[in-house]
């Protein structure tokens, strides 16, 4: 899933972002170092945040299957605001691109969510 909300919060420095991403990637990619990454994340953020991070990592294993299994197109908000980012990150090479018209004109995110104004 292309996460539009990950870069619109205004919080540029996400605490423990590296440990969170490394752990999530190890879980999703079958990294042999998952045990180590789990220990590192727990040590960095504590058990309470770790469990919440594990829950979010887990639920996105479901969301991606719902999206790919049903072939839903990317929402207009994301298509209109992600612009060249998809190309830059290599996301346009994913199989699921075929489900979405990606030539939608770019529009500011605030047009879709007043919180972003």
């Amino acid at each position: 899933m292309l996460r539009a909300s990950s870069d619109v919060s205004g919080e540029r420095d996400v605490p423990h972002r590296a440990e969170l991403e490394i752990f999530a990637t190890a879980l999703a990619s079958g990294g042999a170092d998952l045990d180590q990454r789990r220990d590192e994340l727990r040590a960095a953020v504590g058990d309470e945040v770790f469990v919440e991070a594990a829950a979010v990592a887990a639920v996105f294993h479901g969301y991606v299957r719902v999206a790919d299994g049903t072939g839903i197109p990317v929402d207009e908000l994301v298509v209109a605001t992600s612009g060249d980012l998809r190309e830059e990150l290599g996301i346009n090479a994913y199989e699921g691109r075929a489900n979405t018209m990606v030539d939608v004109a770019e529009r500011p995110a605030a047009e879709f969510n007043p919180q972003l104004k």
């Binding site: 999703a28 770790f50 979010v56």
Partner: protein, 202 residues
Amino acid sequence: MRIPSRLVESKSAAWDRLAGPGDWWTGEERLAFAAEARAAFAERHQAPWLRTAPAGLMSKLAADANQIDRSWATESISEVGEAAYVELVAIAASIAVLDAFAEALGVERTPLPTAREGEPTRREPEDMGDAGAYVRMTTPWSDANVARALTLSPSGNALYRGIAMPFYHEGQFLDLAWDRPISRPQAEAVATAVSAANECFY
């Protein structure tokens, strides 16, 4: 470590829903599909030729969902029926969440429940339309497409969303600041990493 009660309760509710009849499959059939999805999900990181789980519809949904295209989906839907297919997507996705959570925590997976008797409803909701996906879904709609993707199967939708809400946003999807131990940007960093590793375009 302490697991929040909302997560424990959502898992119990999911097991209860899974064990009973759905819209198109009996409880026994749903659990058989869940077992197939579970076996494939556990082997998702292995090369296909090294897997022991049987190849088939549930394996594809559980282990290789990013390889699904319209042609495969159309063929699968022609075999089992459109709404019945959606119910299977919901089962595969639900198993993926709960088993990934066990992997993330480093604990054993919970055994599947025992099936309850009963007949599927065999009913489709009335407000279904074409949203450009492989399957019909609720129309019109003003929320994210992923939130309506499973609506053709009310029981599948209830099964999956009963897990997804407490595991992800707890009804705070549109809020950019969360009053929770994990911040919204932290949650989205995790979500992005998982989505990228799964090569999910959506």
